[in-house]
């Protein structure tokens, strides 16, 4: 029996492809928020599972890197586990769940709660890179709109939200203006995470495999969420704290417990929640369990 992944180049992609992706990444970093076309390859996972993110990770990963993979904030969900194992096998990199220890973080739908540092790279998986797509179906036209900075139409979408719901009801993929020049889709991260993109010291790279686009936000770049003067941008808040770690300021997931209406709210960032619990922070549910034991 041979080793399961023998015969592949380091980190799966061939070196020419990696060069091509790195060139696209450099261009993307030079023009913050601009969508750079690239020759997206077939990857051994389906479109929509992070083919764009995986290609960027494969192109910049080296043996000294420490990789963390996030799926919806968690390290232990299917997509995160498979992509982590993919690079463990094909690039022999160390992996971690700790965002502070990672040099490269590939993420789907969340930015870690813990602040990121310089020298770190955050790679996003992007399903739809074009923020204007739902409003203007012609690619030719959207490219012109980006080229000439004609972004009034995006504002119309927010107008429609307020007209229909009384407030800006867009909660994820909330459009942002990068460096006051390019309109950018921040991928389906909750708008809760939008402020974290602003002036972040880490490098943020975005890869859309099916749509064959790469874009980037370099360190310390302005990222402004669109809004109206009389309806300013705001992030989600919860009346509850996390039921496991008691955090009142993190992004919470609602978990249904039974069919009797039982539910609890827990941090979506699993590592953040666990490390808080280890530090002795307890949520309502943990306290109840402790009392039951006493």
């Amino acid at each position: 029996m041979c080793k399961p992944y023998s015969g592949y180049n380091y980190a799966y992609l061939d070196e020419q492809t990696k060069r091509m992706i790195r060139r696209a990444l450099l261009k993307a970093l030079a023009i913050p928020g601009y969508q750079v076309p690239f020759g997206s390859r077939e990857m051994p996972l389906p479109y929509g599972w992070g083919t764009g993110g995986v290609q960027i990770t494969a192109a910049i990963l080296g043996p000294k890197d420490v990789l963390k993979v996030i799926d919806q904030g968690a390290d232990d969900t299917t997509n995160a586990v498979s992509i982590r194992r993919f690079f463990e096998n094909l690039a022999q990199v160390k992996t971690t769940e700790d965002p502070r220890a990672a040099t490269l973080i590939q993420t789907r739908h969340r930015i870690p709660e813990m602040p990121l540092q310089e020298q770190q790279v955050l790679v996003y998986q992007v399903p739809q890179p074009e923020p204007l797509r739902s409003l203007e179906s012609s690619e030719q036209e959207t490219r012109k709109m980006h080229g000439y900075s004609e972004y009034g139409l995006m504002q119309v979408r927010l107008y429609e939200d307020i007209a229909r719901f009384g407030h800006i009801a867009t909660t994820y993929g909330y459009p942002v203006m990068v460096n006051e020049r390019y309109l950018m889709s921040p991928t389906p991260i909750p708008k809760f995470d939008n402020p974290k993109m602003h002036l972040n010291p880490c490098i943020q790279l975005f890869g859309a495999g099916r749509e064959k686009r790469i874009y980037a936000v370099p360190p310390y770049t302005q990222v402004r969420s669109l809004d109206f003067d009389d309806h300013p941008f705001s992030i989600q808040t919860w009346p509850q704290a996390c039921d496991l770690c008691g955090d009142q300021h993190s992004y919470l997931d609602e978990v249904v417990l039974d069919d009797q209406g039982g539910r609890m709210f827990v941090c979506s960032d699993s590592f953040h929640c666990q490390s808080r619990q280890q530090q002795g922070h307890l949520g309502a549910r943990q306290r109840q369990e402790e009392q039951a034991h006493d």
Binding site: Y148, E150, Q155, V156, Y159, E160, I162, R164, F228
Partner: protein
Amino acid sequence: MTEKDWLASLPPPLLQVEDLSFYYGDQVGCLDINFQLYPGEVLGIVGESGSGKSTLLNCLSGHQPPSSGRVMFDHRQQGLVDLFALSEPERRLLMRTDWGLVRQNPRDGLRMNLSAGGNVGERLMAVGARHYGHIRGQAEQWLGRVEIASDRLDHLPTTFSGGMQQRLQIARNLVSQPRLIFMDEPTGGLDVSVQAKLLDLLRGLVRDLNIAAIVVTHDLAVVRLLADRLLVMRQGRVVESGLTDQVLDDPQHPYTQLLVSSVLQV
């Protein structure tokens, strides 16, 4: 006052078309068109199908560069400029601020998946309006001016009747207070009573706001009501031009005579 003084006292033309021709390959779209349009003036362009009306309108409204000739426009900042010498972003800005385009089919001119308010507000947001209350207020005011009840502000245009959609399209174009508006068969596909109402509304708006308009139509009744001056086109050429009543009541060219006499009398 001599005739020379009188001519000098006129405002400069808003639009000046010089020897404009457009060819589809070796087929003539329109040939050697010359005219001037003054501020607040309504010009009708009539002719049968295939006479080059729409080709001419596409060239005039900046959508299609002519094969030869020039379209000069009195730009607010730059004065008289060649439309196709402007850069594309400048031309696009002109199209959504100082110009309007009312299409025959309102579904082409409206965004059908946006509410009426969003449709009217789009131009305001395109030039940087960022106050929801003000945008909404203006949208509501414009719906009122085109006689759409304000409780329809948040409804989709798909729920509107054909006549209402056409009026919404007009409001959407006029909200930026353009100086020039192009209309391509504005009453096509509407029944006669709705047509009459729409024409009445258009005539009032154009007069009140002092907007210049170019109306392309095959319907002589429309130009009789709206237009000050008339161009009659046939096979890509202008065969007759003049004041509307003069051309319609005393047509000189055989084709115009045929056109006028073809109108059904009830």
